[in-house]
């Protein structure tokens, strides 16, 4: 539907109009086509910038720039005049995340790792049709400037800014090497198995950034490394980092941590869609967000049980995502949009407006803001004198579903269909055989459909091209004809023939638009906040209580005395007083503990909950550089379940796939807090080691027979070798001078210097003794043997070495190395004076550690107090945190559990669980929380069904696999 002044010009692909300044550097062939450089756009409504009211004004463009702007300007004689009556002119849109491939050829002089190639530069090639198509497709969506970002690898290489006109590449590239792309995802075709986990990717990035620093300080005299060299260049140039993330809302916080550690700035993150969950943290981090205009579609609830199985968090995310730009705006988190090159971006944009974002802010996020991010504020993003003539011209105001973009002007050159197009709407169909019908023409260039309106009998299809069209029309099996014709401003006129080859002439006369389809706005009452945003998340985080619990059986565990009735006063997160009939200030809340038992919070020394994307790096025998703490997952529902079992502190361990695993994280189960909010501050650092069948890959199948080690002697040698390397590393450091910090050896040398403690997965006595002797010979103590199912055989040796034992109550028979496991292990070790604990290593069992402790009474006859210490004080001691937790002692953290019964009874339930004096679990709240979340789910399900009925896109529901890690979980 072209209504502008048709100018009889041919727009070639190689029109080279930008010759005004100087002669280009490239040669020309043949006879040049020199298009006009001066245009006047008149009679249109001009929106000069986001937020400006549309004004009737004329725009004079010369040599690619906006030369004049005003209600009335004198038209130069050489100007082409464009009558844009009723049209709307906007600044051209800018997309800052256009995923593009890097050249296939890779530099071999860079990093050892094939996913680390920051030196790679994106290349534009205008002979490459995929590039040309990409420019054209974005142009048709109204985009005039693109930031192309590389799409493969971890440290990916540089992206470039392009304008979307079709010119020589020298002119299309606005800025090469504009940003550095990055992600946590290694290439699919990666040669290396490492890293297989998220924490591995983070470690690899950290090591590379450290290496770049070393390289700059003189490492470049020792080796040439294109990757490190490029990283330093990029830093010098302050290239923005553009991070790609997946659907995890937490990656943005992980990127923030890296940015903070390595002073990366600025940092832009293409969100995975759930960033709205952590707005205050993102705001504080200074990270800038790129919001893809592709929100999660409504779930398809028609498959069996989809409505039952779909998780509340999925529904909440579906509900929240379109509102997130508004929430970012309110919180002043800087953001831009990306269309991802999809035409559906417009509908998504309208949804953000339905949800509260103003048109001004929506347009700014596609114009002014990205222009500023790209340092192009003086040239792009606005319609302003002297600015690039980058324009989007629409047939109606932009923020309407029906709006069509008629032209996109890039650098003063118009693009769009200059040839006439049929106008969609109602027509009268007249033919020479007498029919007069009211028909509706619908569709998009070049394919249209015709339907007879009343009666709904006939239908046809129309294909437009070159200012003309073909038409087929059918009313029934006999009445069928086809023809060709030309397109005129208000009619389509042509002729054809029917089945009997009778000549028919016809005309379609435009009557008016189709009844205006009103777009149904995407409205929804956002569910209330939850901490965290999933089932069992609470509307408010718990407050620190000033509370006295009276008349409960107190298991203080300070000594071996049996529990006795008494009071506990907690305030400021600390146990203030213990005793009977305590006197407390009047503002202190009272809670009767009559008939209840109060114990310290349980401590799980060996847990794998709350870990994101990979518990095992395991692709190398030694991975001491990876850190569980980098990948905490605070919305793991197991946190809530374990609180319901009285657990307050968990040590999250790397798996046991390799002899030296990763660094452990100690957390408190502060449900609803941020990843950092989970950390147990001040706790000594630990690392996971592993021995035996897992690390020698005994049960991995016959294809795993070559990675060293394959035997227990091999395990010993790997460990010895690793410590030899660590010692040599420290020697080198001592010598001074240029020193390359190595994260793997750093962690290992911390062990040698007593700064990092070992938790070692182990089963049989031989290997346990081996590691203790290795420690003896190198001067370190093995802090904890975990599992240690044959520990009872060498309890005396463990005691002599000073190692603690963290074991299972009664597991055995699951592999050969546990064939001599006995349920009396805990008792025998305890009685031998070894600090002994019971752990879960299992998300389900972590909910009933108290019952596991009770088994030590059954097997071997440990006293109840000593049994309860297996899951409280003893793990606190082996973790080096007994100064703060593990017993009811004045001055320790108020981590408490109120039990309905003797905690060692199978009938006991954790009734309330406090951490730092905050009540993170209250059994009496289960019912109301349950009803509340069920109502929320019902509401969201109803809304999702409505959305589907309204024609919003839906996506098939796929069940989220349960998130349960054990030691042995290997990522596919």
């Amino acid at each position: 539907m072209f209504q502008g002044v048709v100018i009889g010009m041919f727009w070639g692909v190689l029109d080279e109009s930008k010759i005004w300044a100087q002669l280009p550097t490239y040669p020309k062939e043949g006879i040049e086509r020199i298009p006009s450089q001066c245009h006047v756009l008149q009679n249109a409504w001009v929106v000069k910038e986001a937020g400006a009211a549309p004004q009737k004004m004329m725009v004079l463009i010369r040599k690619g720039k906006i030369e004049q702007l005003g209600a009335s300007i004198s038209i130069p004689p050489d100007a082409q005049i464009w009558n844009l009556e009723g049209k709307y002119i906007y600044p051209g849109l800018i997309d800052v995340y256009v995923e593009s491939s890097l050249p296939q050829e890779r530099n071999s002089e860079g990093s050892w790792h094939s996913s680390i190639h920051p030196e790679q530069e994106m290349l534009f090639d205008n002979h490459d049709t995929s590039w040309i198509k990409k420019l054209e497709s974005y142009r048709q969506l109204g985009f005039t400037t693109l930031l192309c970002v590389p799409k493969e690898g971890i440290l990916r290489g540089t992206g470039m800014i392009l304008q979307t006109g079709e010119r020589n590449h020298q002119e299309i590239i606005v800025k090469p090497k504009a940003v550095l792309g990055a992600s946590f995802q290694k290439e699919k075709q990666s040669k290396e198995a490492y890293p297989s986990s998220l924490m591995g990717s983070i470690a690899l990035i950290r090591q590379t950034l450290l290496d770049a620093n070393w390289y700059q300080k003189g490492g470049n005299n020792l080796e040439y490394n294109a990757s490190l060299s490029a990283l330093n260049d990029h830093t010098r140039l302050h290239l923005p980092w553009v991070w790609d993330t997946d659907s995890s809302s937490l990656d943005v916080l992980r990127i923030a941590a890296l940015a903070n550690e390595f002073s990366l700035s600025p940092v832009w993150v293409k969100g995975g869609g759930r960033e709205w969950e952590w707005i205050p943290q993102i705001k504080n981090s200074g990270i800038q967000l790129i919001v893809p205009l592709a929100f999660p579609p409504a779930p398809d609830l028609t498959t069996p049980d989809a409505a039952t199985d779909i998780q509340l968090s999925q529904l909440r995310n579906w509900a929240y995502a379109p509102s997130s730009p508004y929430l970012f705006h309110q919180a002043q988190v800087p953001f831009t949009f990306s269309s991802l090159g999809k035409s559906s971006y417009k509908e998504e944009l309208l949804r953000t407006i339905d949800r509260g974002l103003s048109e001004k802010d929506a347009l700014a996020a596609l114009t002014l803001t990205p222009a500023a991010w790209l340092n192009l504020s003086d040239r792009k993003g606005k319609i302003e004198l002297g600015f690039d003539a980058d324009l989007m011209i629409c047939d109606q105001p932009f923020f309407s579903k029906e709006t069509k973009i008629i032209y996109t002007w890039v650098n003063g050159q118009p693009y769009g269909n200059l040839l006439p197009q049929p106008r969609v709407g109602k027509y009268l169909l007249k033919t020479s055989i007498g029919d007069v019908d009211s028909v509706l023409l619908e569709g998009e260039r070049p394919n249209y459909n015709l339907t007879q309106l009343a009666p709904r009998k006939g239908k046809g299809s129309l294909y437009s091209q070159g200012g003309g069209f073909n038409l087929t029309w059918q009313e029934d099996s006999l009445k069928y004809w086809l023809g060709n014709g030309g397109i005129y401003s208000d009619s389509l006129i042509g002729s054809g023939e029917d089945l009997s080859q009778t000549r028919i002439s016809f005309s379609l006369i435009y009557v008016g638009p189709k009844a205006i389809s009103t777009r149904k706005p995407d409205t929804l009452t956002l569910p209330t906040q939850r901490f965290p945003s999933c089932a069992w998340g609470t509307p408010q985080l718990p407050q620190t209580e000033d509370l006295v619990i009276r008349d409960a059986f107190l298991w203080t565990l300070q000594d071996s005395a049996s529990p006795s009735i008494g009071d506990v006063w907690i305030k400021n997160g600390i146990i203030q007083a213990l005793g009977t009939q305590l006197t407390v200030p009047s503002q202190t809340q009272e809670l009767s503990g009559k008939g209840f038992h109060l114990t310290p919070g349980l401590i799980d020394e060996h847990s794998h909950i709350a870990i994101d994307r990979g518990v095992n790096e395991g692709t190398q025998a030694v991975t001491s550089e990876v850190r569980i703490g980098d990948v905490l997952l605070p919305d793991d529902i197991h946190i809530y379940h374990q609180l319901a079992g009285g657990v307050t502190t968990s040590q999250l361990l790397h798996g046991s796939a390799n002899p030296i695993g990763g660094q452990s994280a100690l957390i408190k189960l502060r449900w609803g807090e941020t990843p950092d909010g989970l950390r147990f501050s001040g706790a000594p650092p630990f690392i996971k080691f592993a021995l035996g069948e897992n690390v020698k890959q005994s049960n991995w199948g016959d294809s795993h027979t070559t990675r060293y080690p394959q035997s227990r002697p091999g395990v010993e040698q790997i460990l010895r070798e690793s410590f030899r390397r660590a010692a040599a590393y420290k020697e080198a450091e001592k010598k001074g001078g240029l020193f390359r910090k190595d994260l793997e050896l750093d962690a290992l040398s911390e062990i040698l210097f007593g700064k990092r403690k070992i938790t070692c997965h182990s089963y049989v006595q031989s290997e346990i003794v081996m590691l203790m002797r290795l420690g003896d010979s190198l001067g370190f103590k093995v802090n904890t043997f975990t599992h240690v199912l044959e520990g009872y055989k060498i309890a005396d040796k463990l005691k002599a070495h000073g190692a603690a034992a963290s074991t299972f109550s009664d597991w055995w028979a699951y592999k050969y190395e546990v064939i001599d496991a006995i349920p009396h292990n805990g008792t025998l070790l305890s009685q031998a004076g070894v600090i002994t604990g019971f752990n879960s290593d299992d998300a389900e069992m972590g909910r009933r550690l108290n019952q596991e402790a009770a088994k030590a009474i059954k097997y071997g006859g440990l006293t109840p107090v000593e049994a309860l210490k297996l899951v409280t004080l003893n793990p606190a001691r082996m973790l080096g945190i007994e100064a703060w937790v593990g017993s009811l002692t004045v001055g320790k953290h108020a981590d408490l559990v109120l039990w309905s019964d003797n905690p060692l009874s199978v009938y006991a339930k954790a009734d309330k669980t406090w951490i730092d004096g905050k009540r993170y679990f209250d059994r009496s709240k289960i019912q109301s929380l349950s009803e509340n979340q069920l109502n929320e789910k019902k509401y969201l399900l109803q809304k999702a069904l409505q959305a589907a009925a309204l024609g919003f896109k839906t996506t098939p529901y796929t069940q989220v696999p349960p998130h349960e890690y054990t030691c042995e979980t290997l990522e596919p």
Partner: protein
Amino acid sequence: MNIPVKRWNHSLQLPIYSICVGLVITIGINLARAQEIPSPGKASPFPVIIRGAMVHPGNGDIARIADILIIDGKIQKVGEVKETYKQSTEIQGQGKHVYPGFIALNTQLGLIEIEAARPTQDTRESGLINPNLRAAVAYNTDSRVIPTVRSNGVLLAQVVGNSGVINGSSAVMQLDAWNWEDALIREDGVFINWPEVSSSSRKTSLQELESLFKDARAYATNQSAISTEDLRVQSILPIFTGHKKLFIEVNQYAALLEVIAFIKRFQIQPVLVGVSDGYRILDQLKSLGIPVILTNVNRLPDRDIDSPEAPFKLPAILDSSKITFALSIPGFWQVRNLAFTAGTAIGYGLSPEAALKSICLTPAKLCGIDNNYGSVEVGKSATLLICSGDVFNMATSNIETAFIDGRQISLDNKQEQLYRKYRNKDTN
């Protein structure tokens, strides 16, 4: 009348029991030479009387203090035993508890020794439809695991493989035997593992299942002499003739509805196993009289919004809905904790009587052995245990004595032996 008895305190954790004057009767094993796998107990030539214990009948009735008279392996009396015998064995049960031997359903006990070691596994077979596999023939009476389970009160077990869509035929074994033939009580059922809704091969599997059952029904209802040579069909026939039970493991709601349609189509009275979504079809389970085996009380809730208490509460919900149910634990070594999962269910609202029944009489009924096993009642096999405390509670579960068919069995096991060995380690 009281017979004067000599109190005789056994070492090594055997209970105090008494024997008639003048006779040295060896009951149980020779403890001087502990065997890694104890020899099966010997039948007592004399009556055995358990005096004054709190007797938990296991049939849902409330416990009461009573004597128990055992003759020829059978319970002759529960009540006051006034009869006197020239020779008898008396066990003082005052302050102690007597329970029927627990029955572990749907277990791989004796079929697998070490999970990760393939040579020790006899639980998986090639192919999906294997009703004719007989678990009984692989049952290893010399498994080191069995005594560890037995010493926690599990005296009978229904063993079955666990692969495919039809896992095979199950067998009920008593856990104190020389070989599988001695151990076998009866081959009681066929286990189906109904393909879950998301399973990729479910369409083919269900087609095959349907075809097999149609064949079997045709042969079963055909009274003429025509018989089938198809081993699979042959193994299904007893389901239609009522000689075997069909156990169907199924959990998801959608699949449960399919199963109900299936059993109506074939007019089968099955036992459903797993049934984690069972709370959504309580009315149907009840009206159809379908019993249920819950496979794991200690399991994480199935869905995010399910209460952390949901799996623990399910037994009490089934009980109050008058649905017959048994408790079980998947696996093999794990079933030694069977009584404790019943304890957990008690903590979440199930009565102790119903809890005990769910691991005693109900399993016996589901396996078709309730005429002889599953409760402490006159006329039944003396398969029972004596515990010094509450058997559901870890801290008090101290089983002192156990009988299978009236034979006192050893409660020793490899783990106890290792415990004894290292408890006294001389560390200088």
